[in-house]
């Protein structure tokens, strides 16, 4: 009897610890927010695509890509193929060799059907992250941007406030014109641990880049009546807040950025 109980408790503890401490390495700042998109490329014997969030987020809001264009927030979850790109969807929405960004033509993505001659052109994205000649380099791009201690080491919020980056919130053919919705008020979320201050969640700050549609209803389905329950365990596993924070937006190690409510209920 006693031995069974002991084993059961040991199993329990082991399971709990396994979830909590996966020992994630902290990536270098230029790699933070990097996504290796390789699911379909491997089948077509193309190296995976290295996608850097830090560059695109400086030019476009999260909403443009994750709502208007419809990218999933999961590597391999979108089903990007050479066909969809060539037809002007996914990456091909902008990377079509015709659209302009800051008066420069955005390089085209995949041709369809693909042909072997475009070897070098393909390597622009299908580089497996190898050092290839990139138009924008992390060091030079971020040198004058305000700093922050974690993630990309860039305080993107401050950068936008100072006008150093101006993320665009819509694409000419895609977005249409709608009166913007008023963001909801900020509110406090109680933290489960008595030792942690409550969280002040700012709708205004999030809605600036996400609108309403990025988060609602898929990530956060509720209205006030249907109160949601989730924990730091799920967040650290990449759900809810963790979908963005710890992968693209400032990482979870920056506890005080969220747990900032001096009053703890």
């Amino acid at each position: 009897m006693g031995i069974v109980r002991f084993l059961a408790s040991f199993l329990l503890l082991a399971l709990l610890l396994e979830g909590a401490a996966s020992g994630r390495a902290i990536p270098p700042p230029e790699d933070y927010g990097m996504v290796m998109i390789g699911k379909l490329s491997a089948q077509t014997r193309m190296p995976p695509v290295r996608f850097d969030h830090w560059l695109h987020r400086a030019f476009y809001t999260c909403r443009v890509c994750h709502v208007e264009i419809g990218f999933a927030m999961e590597a391999g979850g979108t089903g990007i193929t050479d066909e969809t790109n060539a037809k002007g969807f996914h990456c091909g929405t902008c990377h079509d060799g015709r659209k302009l960004h800051e008066e420069k033509t955005i390089f085209p993505s995949c041709p369809y059907p693909s042909s072997p001659r475009e070897g070098d052109e393909c390597a622009k994205c299908h580089s497996r992250g190898n050092d290839n000649e990139r138009a924008y380099k992390y060091a030079t791009f971020t040198v004058s941007l305000p700093k922050q201690r974690l993630g990309n080491l860039v305080d993107w919020e401050e950068a936008e406030a100072r006008g150093l980056v101006r993320p665009v919130d819509g694409l000419p053919d895609l977005s249409g014109h709608r009166p913007s919705l008023a963001p909801q008020a900020d509110f406090s979320i109680s933290s489960r641990g008595f030792w942690m201050p409550d969280i002040i969640f700012s709708h205004r700050k999030h809605a600036r880049w996400n609108g309403c549609e990025v988060c609602h209803p898929e990530i956060f389905p509720a209205s006030r009546e249907d109160s949601m329950k989730y924990s730091m365990l799920q967040i650290s596993e990449g759900e809810y807040c963790g979908l963005c924070h710890n992968r693209v937006a400032f990482p979870l190690n920056d506890c005080a950025k969220c747990h900032s409510n001096q009053v703890h209920r």
């Binding site: 009897m1 069974v4 109980r5 059961a8 199993l11 329990l12 399971l15 709990l16 396994e18 979830g19 994750h66 709502v67 208007e68 264009i69 419809g70 990218f71 999933a72 927030m73 999961e74 979850g77 979108t78 089903g79 969809t84 037809k87 969807f89 053919d173 895609l174 977005s175 249409g176 709608r178 009166p179 919705l181 008023a182 909801q184 008020a185 900020d186 205004r204 309403c212 549609e213 990025v214 209803p217 898929e218 990530i219 956060f220 389905p221 509720a222 209205s223 006030r224 009546e225 249907d226 949601m228 989730y230 365990l233 799920q234 596993e237 759900e239 809810y240 979908l243």
Partner: protein, 271 residues
């Protein structure tokens, strides 16, 4: 003893990250994928690939009412249980897909037949196409090229396309539809959003009844007889009920908040 293991099981269930419906962000369907329905009540059992039905083509040619009331298709994938014998008897898909009916001057290809050879398989695969690389007769990009554009969904403003005369959806099929008296126009009305700062919804009966008639929505989808009788919120709508029956997968999607939430509310900047 048993209680102890129940507790352990519960804690394990909580500790392990389950497949979450919320807390994730999936891809959005591409314009030509939006409105796609997979039908597989009997296909695989009969040795065929499941049927892929694209709404965009049929909706440009017929009103919602024609298929969902006169031909009696359900509004849920698999809800109708269409079988090959139904089609062969001239019902459901077979109402038009019989090799004889002409729509827009074109004969509609026949659906299921009792005897079929390997030559017929090309025809079978036109519908039973899931997982097969079947080239459709109508290409989405070419078909919708001239249509006025809108964001999300199919990327087409179907309403405007009809107003501009680019599409003329048929509402009556001889021998199938009941010949009805013209519709008594219902009034538009406002629905207040539950969240104060969200603009109110202006619901247009007129816009809906042009394609749906009355029976499509009442009482199956909207049961309350008086406005405000049925209590529902965005939670149910996102779940595919009420407005979400159509506006989650076929009509313009719910992600386009401002399409419905149109009446501006005096907004005060939060302190």
């Amino acid at each position: 003893m048993a209680r102890f293991f129940v507790v352990v099981a519960l804690i394990v269930a909580v500790a392990v990250t389950a497949e979450a419906q919320t807390g994730v962000k999936k891809r959005r369907p591409l314009p030509y994928e939006y409105g796609r329905v997979i039908l597989n009540n009997y296909s695989e059992k009969a040795g065929f690939a499941p049927v892929v039905f694209e709404h965009w083509l049929h909706r440009s040619k017929f009103t919602c009412r024609l298929c969902h009331v006169d031909i009696a298709f359900a509004m849920k994938a698999g809800g109708t249980s269409v079988s090959a014998s139904d089609n062969m008897s001239g019902y459901y898909c077979g109402t038009c897909h019989n090799g004889k009916t002409s729509i827009g001057g074109e004969k509609v290809f026949a659906s299921c037949s009792k005897k079929y050879s390997s030559d017929d398989m090309t025809r079978c695969n036109r519908c039973h196409s899931l997982g097969k690389n079947v080239k459709p007769q109508y290409d989405f990009a070419a078909f919708t090229q001239r249509f006025p554009k809108e964001r999300f969904g199919n990327g087409v403003d179907w309403e405007k396309a009809e107003n501009d005369g680019l599409i003329k959806p048929l509402d009556f099929l001889e021998g199938v539809s009941v010949s009805r008296k013209p519709l008594a126009v219902q009034k538009d009305f406002a629905l207040d959003a539950k969240l104060e700062s969200m603009p109110a919804i202006i619901f247009s009966h007129r816009k809906h009844t042009v394609w749906n008639g009355c029976e499509l929505c009442h009482p199956e989808i909207f049961t309350g007889v008086k406005k405000g009788a049925t209590k529902y919120s965005m939670v149910e709508i996102f779940d595919g009920k009420y407005c979400g029956v159509c506006h989650r997968t076929v009509a313009f999607p719910l992600i386009d908040c401002q399409r419905c939430h149109t009446r501006p509310v005096e907004w005060h900047k939060p302190a």
